[in-house]
C-alpha cells in the first residue's frame, strides 16, 4: 500500500468506536453508579416515601422529593470529565493516545461521546422508570408526564453542560486536580465576582444603592448555585436555552483549543501560556477584593484599605505564581516588576469606578430630565422579592410618582445630601429617629434609571426631609397604601398581652378608610417622632384562591386623632388600652451613670434600674393619674442618655419598660425623683 493513501477503516468516522468501547470498559462504573444514584433520588424515593393511609400529595415538580439531586448532578458529570480526560493530563496516556493515527478532533469527539454515553442513558432510564411507576397504585405523589419530561430535560441538559464544561477546562489545563478545582471555581466565579464588585462599590462609592438588584440574579450567574436552587425553582425556558447554547459554545471552544494545545503540556498548570496573564489577574483581583472587604470592614482609614488591598494582591500573586510554576521557589529578578505592573493596573481597575472621576457620586438629575421618581426606605421590598416571601406585590411601575413638586423635593434633598455628604458611619444607622435610609430612584427622560441610596440624618436636613416626607406620594409608598385597597376580612388590635379582633364588615370598612386618611395626614414631625404606638394593628386579608392567609401590620399612634376618637366611640379602645388600675407597680429612674454598667449589659434595663435603686435615684409612682399619663406618652427606648425610664409591671404579669423625654415629665413626676 502506498503512503498517504486514504484507507477506509473505522477510524475514518468522526466517532471512533474502538475508543468508545475502550472508554466504556475503563469507566463504565461511572454510568452504573450514576444510574443507581438517580434511581434512588427520584423513582425509589417516590416509591418509598409517604404513608399508606394519607392522601397522595400533589407536587409541582420533581426536584423536591426528599433527597436533593444537586450534589450528584454536579459530581457525576464533572467526575466523568476528569476521568475520561485524564489522558490529556498524564504523560504516558497522553503519549499513547496522541501517537495513534487519529486526528485530535476524533479523539475529542470520541471521548466526549463516551462520556455522554456514560452519563445520559442513566438519566433517561431513570426518567423512564419514573414515568412507568407514575400510574401505579400506592404512590404517594401525584405528578404528571410533563413533570417527568421536565425532569428528564433539565437533568440531561445540566449533565451535558457540566460535562462539556469540565472537558473545556480540561483542555485549558494540564493537571487533573487543577482541572477539578477550576471547574468548581469557575462555576461559582461569575456570581462571586459580581457579589464582590457589588460589595466593593457599596462600600467605597458614595450613594451606591444598598440593594442594587444584583443579589436577586446572583445565583443565576453561578451554575453551581443555580443547580442547588432547582428544588425551589426549575429552569426557565430562557435558562434552558442559555445552558444549551453554552454547552455548544464550550464544545466548539474545546475543539478549537485542542487543535492548538501542545501535547507536552500534560502536567503543566495551564495548557495555553496566553491564559496565564488572565489567570493571574483574575486570582489577584479576587483576592484583592476579598482582602479589602474582609480587612476594610469597620476600618475606613485610607492606609488600612490600601494596605489590605496590597496584601490581598500579593498573596494572590504568590499563590498563582506557585500554581503556574509548580514550585514555591518563585523568586526571580523579574518578579517584583511584574507584580508591580499587575498591582498598579488592578489597583486602578478597583479605584477608578469608586473615585470621583466618573462623576457618579455627584450626579443629581435635573428636575426637567426626570419623568418619575421614587424615594423611601422600602425600595427593595417594593421592587424585589427574591425569596418569594411577599405574598402581595405592587407592580413596580406604580411605585413611581410623576408629581412635579415631589420630583423637585426629592432632587433638592438629593442635592443637599450630595453636597454635604453626611458620613453614614458617624450616625447610628438603625436609630430611626436620628437617621433615615433613603433610596432615590429616578426614571429619566432618556429612558435610563438612576438609583442611589443614602443614609440621611434628620439633623441638618429637616427642611429637605420635610418637603419629601410630607408629600402624599411618599407616604403612599412608605405605608404601602395600595395593599389597603384589598378586601379585608378583619383586623386585630394588640398591645402587650391584650388582643382584640374586629370583624364586623362595616367597622372594618370604616376603620380601613380612617387608617388611610391618618397615614396620608402624617406630618414630618409625627413621622420622625419617637412616641410609641398605642397598639399594633393587624389586618387579615380575605383569603384568595391560593388559600394563603395574608396579614398586614400597621400601628395606632397617639397622633391619630380621628382613629383614636373612632376607637373610643366604638368602645374598642378600652378593650386594648391599659389603665392605671391594671398596673401593679411603676418605678421610675433617670437613665444616667451608664458608664458603670459593663458594655455587654448596656441593654439590660433591669441592671440599670438596680444601679439606680442602689444609688437611691429611683422612685415608685403610685398616683393613678400619673401612671395614666405615662401610659399615654411612651417613647421608643434609645441609647441616648438623659431619658427617664419607667418599669411598669402589669397585673397580668407583663413587664414593660418605657422611656420618657424631659418634655413628658410633669412637675409632679419630677418632684418624685430625688
Amino acid at each position: 500500500m502506498k503512503w498517504g493513501m486514504p484507507v477506509m477503516t473505522r477510524s475514518r468516522y468522526f466517532f471512533n468506536s474502538s475508543i468508545i468501547r475502550q472508554n466504556l470498559r475503563q469507566h463504565g462504573w461511572i454510568g452504573i453508579l450514576y444510574t443507581l444514584v438517580l434511581l434512588f433520588v427520584f423513582p425509589l424515593q417516590i416509591l418509598m416515601n409517604g404513608y399508606r393511609f394519607t392522601e397522595p400529595m400533589e407536587i409541582p415538580q420533581l426536584f423536591n422529593i426528599g433527597i436533593d439531586i444537586a450534589p450528584f448532578l454536579v459530581a457525576f458529570p464533572v467526575g466523568a470529565g476528569l476521568f475520561l480526560f485524564r489522558y490529556l493530563q498524564s504523560k504516558m496516556p497522553s503519549d499513547l493516545w496522541h501517537s495513534l493515527p487519529l486526528r485530535r478532533s476524533h479523539l475529542l469527539a470520541s471521548h466526549t461521546l463516551s462520556g455522554l454515553l456514560l452519563l445520559l442513558p442513566p438519566v433517561w432510564i431513570t426518567a423512564a422508570v419514573g414515568a412507568i411507576i407514575r400510574p401505579l397504585d400506592g404512590i404517594m405523589y401525584i405528578y404528571n408526564a410533563a413533570d417527568v419530561w421536565e425532569w428528564c430535560l433539565t437533568v440531561s441538559l445540566l449533565t451535558l453542560f457540566l460535562f462539556v464544561f469540565t472537558v473545556f477546562v480540561g483542555i485549558c489545563t494540564g493537571q487533573t486536580i487543577l482541572q477539578g478545582i477550576l471547574v468548581f471555581i469557575l462555576l461559582i466565579l461569575p456570581a462571586a465576582l459580581l457579589q464582590f464588585i457589588d460589595l466593593h462599590l457599596n462600600r467605597y462609592l458614595y450613594g451606591y444603592p444598598e440593594w442594587s438588584g444584583l443579589q436577586n440574579i446572583l445565583n443565576n450567574w453561578a451554575p453551581l448555585l443555580r443547580i442547588m436552587d432547582l428544588s425551589v425553582e426549575t429552569l426557565t425556558n430562557v435558562e434552558t436555552w442559555v445552558y444549551a447554547i453554552l454547552s455548544a459554545v464550550f464544545m466548539a471552544l474545546s475543539f478549537l483549543l485542542y487543535r492548538k494545545r501542545h501535547g507536552e503540556k500534560a502536567g503543566q498548570a495551564l495548557a495555553f501560556s496566553y491564559f496565564n496573564p488572565l489567570f493571574k489577574a483574575g486570582v489577584m483581583l479576587c483576592s484583592m477584593l476579598l482582602a479589602s472587604l474582609y480587612f476594610g470592614t469597620g476600618r475606613n482609614q485610607l492606609g488600612w484599605i490600601i494596605g489590605s488591598v496590597f496584601i490581598g494582591g500579593l498573596v494572590g500573586y504568590i499563590v498563582v505564581e506557585m500554581i503556574i510554576r509548580k514550585t514555591w521557589h518563585i523568586m526571580t529578578r523579574r518578579l517584583p516588576l511584574e507584580f508591580a505592573v499587575y498591582s498598579v493596573l488592578l489597583g486602578l481597575l478597583l479605584y477608578i469606578p469608586v473615585s470621583g472621576l466618573t462623576g457618579y457620586e455627584d450626579r443629581v438629575p435635573q428636575v426637567d430630565k426626570v419623568t418619575a421618581v421614587y424615594a423611601g426606605g422600602n425600595y427593595r421590598e417594593l421592587t424585589q422579592d427574591p425569596q418569594g416571601i411577599n405574598t402581595w406585590k405592587e407592580p413596580e411601575e406604580n411605585i413611581y410618582s410623576t408629581d412635579q413638586e415631589y420630583i423637585k423635593a426629592v432632587t433638592a434633598m438629593h442635592q443637599a445630601v450630595v453636597t454635604s455628604r453626611p458620613n453614614p458611619r458617624n450616625t447610628p444607622r438603625y436609630d430611626y429617629t436620628g437617621t433615615r435610609e433613603f433610596t432615590l430612584a429616578y426614571k429619566l427622560e432618556s429612558g435610563r434609571k438612576l438609583v442611589r441610596t443614602y443614609i440621611v440624618p434628620a439633623k441638618g436636613f429637616e427642611p429637605e426631609l420635610k418637603a419629601v416626607m410630607e408629600k402624599e406620594d411618599f407616604k403612599r409608598e412608605k405605608y404601602y397604601l395600595a395593599q389597603l385597597d384589598q378586601e379585608m376580612e378583619s383586623f386585630r388590635l394588640s398591645y402587650l398581652d391584650k388582643v382584640y379582633s374586629i370583624s364586623e364588615p362595616q367597622d372594618v370598612q370604616e376603620f380601613n378608610e380612617i387608617l388611610k386618611r391618618e397615614l396620608l395626614n402624617r406630618t414630618y414631625e409625627d413621622q420622625v417622632s419617637d412616641l410609641r404606638a398605642l397598639a399594633s394593628i393587624q389586618y387579615v386579608v380575605k383569603q384568595n384562591s391560593n388559600k394563603n392567609q395574608i396579614f398586614y401590620s400597621y400601628e395606632w399612634y397617639p397622633s391619630y386623632r380621628e382613629m383614636t376618637a373612632w376607637l373610643q366611640q366604638k368602645g374598642y379602645a378600652d378593650k386594648i388600652k391599659y389603665t392605671a388600675q391594671e398596673v401593679l407597680s411603676a418605678e421610675m429612674f433617670k437613665d444616667e451613670h451608664q458608664s458603670e454598667i459593663p458594655a455587654s449589659q448596656m441593654y439590660d434595663l433591669e441592671k440599670r434600674l438596680q444601679l439606680a435603686r442602689s444609688e437611691k435615684r429611683s422612685a415608685v409612682i403610685t398616683d393613678p393619674t400619673q401612671i395614666d399619663s405615662i401610659l399615654e406618652r411612651q417613647r421608643a427606648f434609645t441609647r441616648q442618655g438623659d431619658k427617664y425610664i419607667v418599669k411598669i409591671e402589669y397585673k397580668g404579669g407583663a413587664i414593660n419598660y418605657v422611656s420618657l423625654d424631659e418634655r413628658d415629665m410633669s412637675p409632679v413626676l419630677k418632684a418624685l425623683l430625688p
Binding site: 475503563q26 504516558m92 493515527p101
Partner: protein, 300 residues
C-alpha cells in the same frame, strides 16, 4: 523516507531540541545517542507526531506527520516505559490496536506469540517491566508498521530476549524494509543493531555517521618514525582524524583504505608500525574530541 529539517522544540522557554536535521532512509536502523536530557525523547515524540515542532518540518515520505492519520497509521512509537490501558491484557490491547491500525496482521500476531510466550489473558500491569516491553514489541510488530520508533528499548531486557528482538528487527528490516529509529544513552547497547548513528547533546546533533563506512574506513595506527620529518611528509598524504604523541611513538586515527594506508607508512620503514581496527566507541570519542566535546560523559 524520514526527513527532519530544522526542527526546534521549546519547553517552558528552554530549547529541548534545537535546529535538528536528520534523514533516515527506508530500511535503515538509526541509533540516536545521547545522555539523559539531550533531547532524544523530545525528538522522537516530535517525529511520532505527539509533539508539534515549533519550527522546521517532520516529514515521512514527503508528508508532515503531525495530525496526519494517514502517515501515523504506518508508524509505531514505543515509549521508554511501556504504557497500556489500566486493567488491559495483551488480548484486549491487541483488539484495540487491531481496530486502530488498518495494517494489523493477525497472522503476524499469532506467529509472534510463539516467540514471546506471554500469557495474553494476564493483566499487563502485573507483568515485569521486561515482559511489558516484550508485549509492547509484540503488539508493535503486529501492527506491521513501516516506521518503528523506539525510545530506550533495550532497558530491562535479558540477553536472550535482547538477541531475539534484535533478530526480529533484522528480519523485519530485511523482509519488509522496516525503518527503525532507536534511542539509547549507551553506544555499546546498540552498536551491533544500527547502521547509522547520530549523537545528540543539549538539544543539538553533534555527529551523524554511517557505521559501516566508519568501521571499514577508520583505523588506529601506532608508529615510531626513523626521522621526524617523515611524519610531516606523511600527514600531508593521509586523512588524519586524530593525532597524539607518546614519547617517540605517534598515535594516528586515519580514515581511508587499509591497504593504501599501510603502504604509505611502509615507504618510510618505521621502527614500529601497528594498524588496528577501532571500536565504535573509540571512533566517536575521537570524532567528538575533534568537534570540541568530551565524549565520555555524553556517551558512556
Amino acid at each position: 523516507m524520514i526527513e527532519i529539517r530544522g526542527v526546534s522544540k521549546i519547553f517552558q522557554e528552554e530549547k529541548a531540541v534545537e535546529d535538528i536535521s536528520l534523514t533516515v532512509h527506508k530500511g535503515a536502523i538509526y541509533g540516536l545517542l545521547g545522555s539523559n536530557g539531550a533531547g532524544k525523547t523530545t525528538l522522537l515524540k516530535t517525529l511520532a507526531g505527539i509533539y508539534r515542532p515549533e519550527t522546521g518540518s517532520v516529514k515521512i515520505d514527503g508528508q508532515p506527520v503531525f495530525e496526519a492519520p494517514e502517515v501515523k497509521r504506518r508508524l509505531i512509537f514505543m515509549p521508554d516505559s511501556p504504557y497500556f490501558f489500566p486493567q488491559a491484557t495483551i488480548r484486549s490491547m491487541a483488539a484495540f490496536y487491531r481496530s486502530i491500525y488498518p495494517e494489523w496482521s493477525q497472522k503476524r500476531y499469532e506467529e509472534l506469540g510463539t516467540a514471546f510466550r506471554l500469557d495474553t489473558r494476564r493483566k499487563l500491569s502485573r507483568f515485569s517491566k521486561g515482559m511489558q516491553r516484550q508485549a509492547a514489541f509484540w503488539l508493535a510488530l503486529s501492527c506491521k508498521p513501516d516506521v518503528l520508533i523506539m525510545d530506550e528499548p533495550i532497558d530491562g531486557l535479558d540477553p536472550v530476549m535482547r538477541r531475539q528482538i534484535k533478530n526480529l528487527l533484522f528480519q523485519e528490516v530485511a523482509e519488509r524494509e522496516l525503518t527503525v529509529l532507536i534511542s539509547s544513552h549507551n553506544l555499546r547497547e546498540i552498536e551491533d543493531l544500527c547502521d547509522h548513528v547520530g549523537i545528540m547533546h543539549e538539544g543539538r546533533m553533534l555527529v551523524e555517521k554511517d557505521l559501516d563506512d566508519l568501521k571499514a574506513d577508520t583505523h588506529k595506527i601506532q608508529v615510531a618514525f626513523r626521522d621526524e620529518r617523515h611524519a610531516a611528509a606523511l600527514e600531508a598524504k593521509l586523512q588524519i582524524l586524530h593525532q597524539e604523541q607518546r614519547g617517540s611513538v605517534s598515535l594516528y586515527i586515519v580514515k581511508g583504505d587499509r591497504e593504501r594506508i599501510a603502504q604509505a607508512f611502509h615507504v618510510y620503514e618505521p621502527y614500529v608500525f601497528d594498524l588496528l581496527p577501532l571500536t565504535l566507541e573509540e571512533i566517536f570519542i575521537y570524532e567528538m574530541g575533534d568537534a570540541g566535546y568530551d565524549a565520555q560523559p555524553i556517551l558512556l
